[in-house]
């Protein structure tokens, strides 16, 4: 869940629409199930495309495939070289909210952060450009670069085509 929040703003990485934590009926307090509501992509995933190719005896046009692959690489890069949330989030935690107009008001943690999400999107594009400039300069600015490994890259991820929702479950280990 944390991961969905961290990367929610990154283009090319899925964002969660909503989530809920539920305790199964009859289960003890410790075992909670987190339901995450994710966007539905009607074109399916890469595995579906591979399967379609196998069935039809067709292949990916190489160039198209590599362009697609490059897109995945770029998304993965933003995870491997995570530069912090584009808007106030990361900075806010570092305590220099004054670089953002109105940053002071957003220092509150927890649930408040969700409220800033629409703001995040607005400023996304702007930050994108800025990020482009920072690239190649190594660890820059507040907090430097954190790195995350996805650890489960494969063609066929994600939910099955449920009508418009997809509810994977994640089990919380602690808290």
């Amino acid at each position: 869940m944390e991961a969905y929040r961290i990367f929610g703003h990154v283009p090319g990485i899925i964002h969660s629409i909503d989530h809920a934590v539920a305790t199964e009926r009859g289960a003890d307090e410790q075992s909670k199930t987190v339901y995450v509501l994710l966007p539905f992509y009607k074109r399916g995933n890469l595995q579906d495309m591979i399967n379609a190719n196998l069935v039809n005896g067709t292949r990916f046009p190489e160039r198209k495939l590599m362009v697609l692959f490059l897109g995945v690489c770029r998304a993965l890069k933003s995870m491997h070289q995570y530069k912090g949330a584009p808007v106030g989030m990361e900075r806010m935690e570092m305590g220099d909210g004054d670089t953002e107009p109105g940053g002071g008001g957003r220092r509150k943690r927890g649930g408040k952060r969700v409220a800033t999400l629409s703001k995040v999107n607005e400023e996304d594009e702007e930050r994108e450009q800025e990020r482009g400039l920072l690239e190649g300069e190594g660890p820059v600015g507040e907090g430097g670069i954190k790195s995350y490994a996805h650890r489960d890259i494969k063609p066929g991820m994600g939910g099955r085509p449920f009508p418009s929702v997809h509810l994977p479950t994640f089990y919380l280990r602690s808290s």
């Binding site: 046009p61 491997h80 995350y148 490994a149 650890r151």
Partner: protein, 189 residues
């Protein structure tokens, strides 16, 4: 992993995401990491270092590079290189992965794809010995429809190095892929 809206890929299934690098400082952590990998990541696409996590190792983002290599291969061929290899040889998937035992379908044991790559690949794979790059066929004229550009194959080869340090990092991979795309302008089949 990729959902497709138009032509934009989307990375998903973030349940497995972990901070990197993760130094394996204790046997307990080694086992925990291995268990997590077994639970969260898919075997044919899982990097060799996650099959047998050793104390003293560092698990980092190179595991994703491996998976990217498997993914690209799967797009070209139809399934993970190690699924294919273990189907062919009857060996277990994990042995194929940890031995780096895979190859392109048009590069059978008797065939010569190009001596250079054989040498290169074999050097990183000890005890493989199935396909020795002997012979001297110049062009890798593949018999069937599976003709894959040499440049793309090279990307896969680079990603599927058993030794994580030998794999490119994401920047290098992006640069490679960009080069490949440049080289592919127009030519499609």
């Amino acid at each position: 992993m990729i959902d497709d809206t138009g032509s934009a890929p989307i990375l998903m299934d973030l349940g497995s995401v972990a901070a990197s690098p993760l130094p394996i400082t204790s046997a307990t952590l080694a086992i925990a990491t291995q268990d997590t990998a077994a639970e969260h990541s898919t075997m044919p696409y899982r990097a060799p270092e996650l099959f047998d996590v050793q104390t003293g190792f560092v698990i980092d983002t190179k595991v994703d590079i491996w998976s990217m290599g498997c993914t690209l291969f799967a797009c070209l061929v139809g399934k993970s290189p190690f699924e294919m290899r273990s189907d062919e040889t009857g060996g277990t998937l994990s042995l194929c992965v940890q031995g780096g035992d895979w190859r392109f379908p048009d590069e059978g044991p008797g065939q010569t794809g190009g001596g250079i790559r054989r040498a290169g690949t074999n050097s990183s794979i000890k005890g493989k010995g199935v396909d020795s790059g002997g012979g001297g066929g110049g062009s890798s004229a593949s018999p069937d429809q599976l003709k894959i550009s040499e440049t793309i194959k090279e990307v896969v080869r680079r990603c599927l190095k058993v030794e994580p340090a030998e794999r490119p990092d994401i920047d290098e991979l992006i640069a490679m892929v960009e080069d490949v795309i440049k080289g592919l302008t127009g030519d499609d089949e």
